[in-house]
């Protein structure tokens, strides 16, 4: 076979090679994103995602969506512009959650014995499906940023509420009232994470009484729109192809 001949001899072979290539790329993408996104989210979302006694109705709702829309926006932009594939957000979140579950189970539980019901990750999949769905239906990055980014922020708290609500049942403990999540944080000793590090229920959003979560979610959604724009440019830049002429090599 000369250098100018094709490596495949038939359409069937071409399809087979193409599918093999599909799986190789998808496998690589999944685990590269898992690693990168996981590190990013641990560094920026960190304790808000690690512990139930950080999952509050103000800051967790605000911070977690803002810092987590990054990779989905970038990968979505890359997959949409280059391939018209609307699963960038979902593949990111599936990778992140797999990495997080492995980490929480093997490290948090296996090495340091924190019960899994205290250190499970946040659920980001509802927002990811809607983000990809809007991308597919609208076919527009702007629309996806505005509607999808907002939905990403808005769906986060209700999407997690069925998991965390049981831990917000109050308990009287040695004469003080706290939630079961607070009690988990108190019972299961974290030598390096003292109580004062916890950033919960802080801020000046006091005029909405107990209904502060929707306001926080809206704010989070607005900022997620901006972050989506910013990170989708990273994705587009990453997906761009640049040719250089031979003279410049």
């Amino acid at each position: 076979m000369s250098a100018s001949q094709s490596a495949v001899r038939s359409r069937a072979e071409a399809v087979k090679v193409s599918r093999t290539f599909d799986w190789m790329i998808l496998f690589t993408l999944f685990f590269v994103v898992l690693g990168g996104y996981h590190i990013h989210y641990m560094l920026t979302g960190g304790d808000w995602d690690f512990w139930t006694d950080w999952k509050d109705r103000r800051l967790w709702v605000t911070v977690a969506p803002i810092v987590s829309i990054t990779f989905p926006a970038a990968v979505q932009a890359c997959l949409w512009y280059r391939y018209r594939l609307p699963f960038g957000a979902v593949v990111c979140v599936l990778g992140l959650l797999l990495g997080e579950w492995v980490n929480r189970y093997l490290n948090f539980w296996g090495w340091t014995y924190f019960p899994v019901n205290f250190c499970f990750p946040s659920n980001l999949i509802p927002g990811a499906i809607v983000l990809d769905g809007i991308m597919l239906l609208g076919g527009s990055m702007t629309l996806t940023a505005v509607l999808g980014g907002l939905a990403w922020g808005l769906l986060f708290y209700p999407g997690n509420w069925p998991i965390i609500a049981p831990l917000h049942v109050p308990v009287e403990y040695n004469g003080m009232m706290m939630t079961l999540a607070d009690l988990q944080g108190y019972n299961y000793v974290r030598t390096g994470t003292p109580e004062y590090i916890r950033m919960v229920e802080k801020g000046t959003l006091r005029t909405f009484g107990k209904d502060v979560a929707p306001v926080s979610a809206f704010f989070s959604g607005f900022v997620s729109i901006i972050i989506y724009f910013l990170w989708h440019f990273f994705g587009r830049w990453f997906a761009s192809t640049a040719f250089v002429s031979g003279e410049n090599v």
Binding site: L85, V90, N123, M178, D182, Y186, P194, E195
Partner: protein, 414 residues
């Protein structure tokens, strides 16, 4: 050449085998908490722990033990460390091997951070419930915002039994008794599995079709619009609308199932009750203090005045949780950790009873390997080379009084 290659291959194989064996066979327990690495001035001049008691040395899973004692918040708190206006009484342990069933400062429960006053003494107690079997080093610990963890003395404690038997029953204000160790676990797994399955379904819909090469070629040739079919859009609509509907529905059913929920609790506890130590009648002035590096001994020249009505003797010098005792005056009967106890580590040039109204200048030497082992000698490398500690004097009736000392420390190298 081949001989060389073979030799290199053999040696590489042996090296690999040795490295693998070494890493597999030599796995020492990482059980300490870096207490020896913390800057010596931090341990000497911030929180002084004393009268510590670990109620048990061996405890079964589900049984409890208490770690109790007192701590003095040093009045000469170093400028380089934030003051303990926000502090949290913690426990130093390797993972949640004990759960903290309760902790109190001055009788008040402290599940949250508390504000401490310089120059005050506080009594504390931590109730620990055994969870994971093993030998664990359990420390008293105070976390200070802006200052970091200030670790107190630690003692080896053994937990026996099986972690499988551990239970953490709690009765909620809605009247339900739950085991917090496993509570909500199935619910968490269920929702995560369900949503993960939905995410995988979305992915599966797209990956069953050719992905990268054909679609890239289509886009390059201007046929991007042909890549999304009407069925794709219907599926997308179903997933999007279905997700929003499912989220709304499960939120509503959860609210019905848990009508009473409260926000996370947070806040700072102020006005903690202090422990009133007897007012000292002994006045101590540090004339000078040196640390003799080769001899691992600290020597102080103290001018001691007894303003009380009973003769006193110096029995103990306590710094950074290391206790130097003059055994002629004081013997430890509390089971204090051996490595932190120098039973004959305190030498006083004249430790005869100091009569009321009398003043005496004495040479006090605190010597023990603990200076080196606990890296207190590293004080000479700290940014503020001062030492501090607690002196305990005893009268003839055994009544104790505490006096603090705080002075520059000059190292002696020869």
């Amino acid at each position: 050449m081949k001989l060389l290659k073979d030799k290199a291959a053999k040696l590489s194989f042996v090296a690999l085998l040795a490295a693998t064996s070494a890493s597999m066979l030599y796995t020492p327990t990482a059980a300490a908490h870096g207490e020896k690495s913390q800057a010596a001035f931090m341990r000497m001049r911030t929180i002084h722990w004393f009268d510590l008691n670990w109620s048990k040395e061996e405890v079964k899973v589900n049984d409890t033990m208490t770690l109790s004692g007192k701590f003095y918040v040093f009045s000469g708190w170093p400028e380089t460390v934030d003051k303990p206006e926000v502090a949290f009484l913690n426990v130093g342990e390797p993972g949640a091997v004990f759960i903290r069933a309760g902790s109190w400062i001055g009788g008040q429960l402290v599940p949250r951070s508390a504000s401490l006053e310089l120059g005050e003494t506080y009594e504390f107690k931590v109730l620990l419930k055994a969870r994971r079997p093993g030998d664990w080093h359990i420390h008293a610990m105070m976390n200070v915002q802006g200052g970091g963890p200030i670790i107190g003395p630690g003692k080896w404690t053994t937990i026996t039994g099986s972690m499988r038997d551990f239970v953490n029953p709690v009765t909620t204000l809605t009247g339900e008794t739950i085991n917090l160790e496993t509570y909500n676990l199935e619910n968490t797994y269920f929702w995560h599995a369900l949503w993960y399955a939905l995410g995988l379904a979305w992915l599966a819909y797209w990956v069953r079709k050719p992905m990268f090469i054909p679609r890239s070629i289509a886009i390059e040739s201007g046929k991007a619009n042909t890549l999304i079919t009407a069925t794709d859009k219907k599926v997308g609509m179903a997933f999007t609308a279905g997700t929003i509907a499912l989220v709304a529905m499960t939120m509503a059913t959860t609210n019905e199932k848990y009508p009473v929920t409260t926000p996370l609790q947070a806040g700072l506890l102020r006005n903690m009750k202090t422990f009133e130590m007897p007012a000292p009648t002994v006045a101590v002035k540090v004339e000078d203090a040196t640390y003799r590096v080769p001899g691992r001994a600290m020597q102080m020249t103290l001018k001691i005045t007894n303003n009380g009505d009973s003769a006193v003797r110096l029995g103990e010098f306590n710094t950074a949780s290391v206790r130097f005792l003059d055994s002629a005056v004081l013997e430890d009967t509390t089971g204090y950790p051996d490595d932190l106890l120098a039973e004959d580590g305190l030498t006083v040039s004249d430790n005869s009873p100091l009569a009321p109204g009398q003043t005496r200048t004495v040479q006090v030497t605190a010597s023990d390997a603990a200076w080196e082992v606990y890296r207190l000698a590293d004080l000479i490398y700290d940014p503020d080379s001062r030492f501090a500690g607690l002196l305990f004097f005893f009268d003839e009736a055994g009544k104790r009084q505490m006096v603090t000392v705080d002075a520059p420390l000059i190292p002696v190298f020869i």
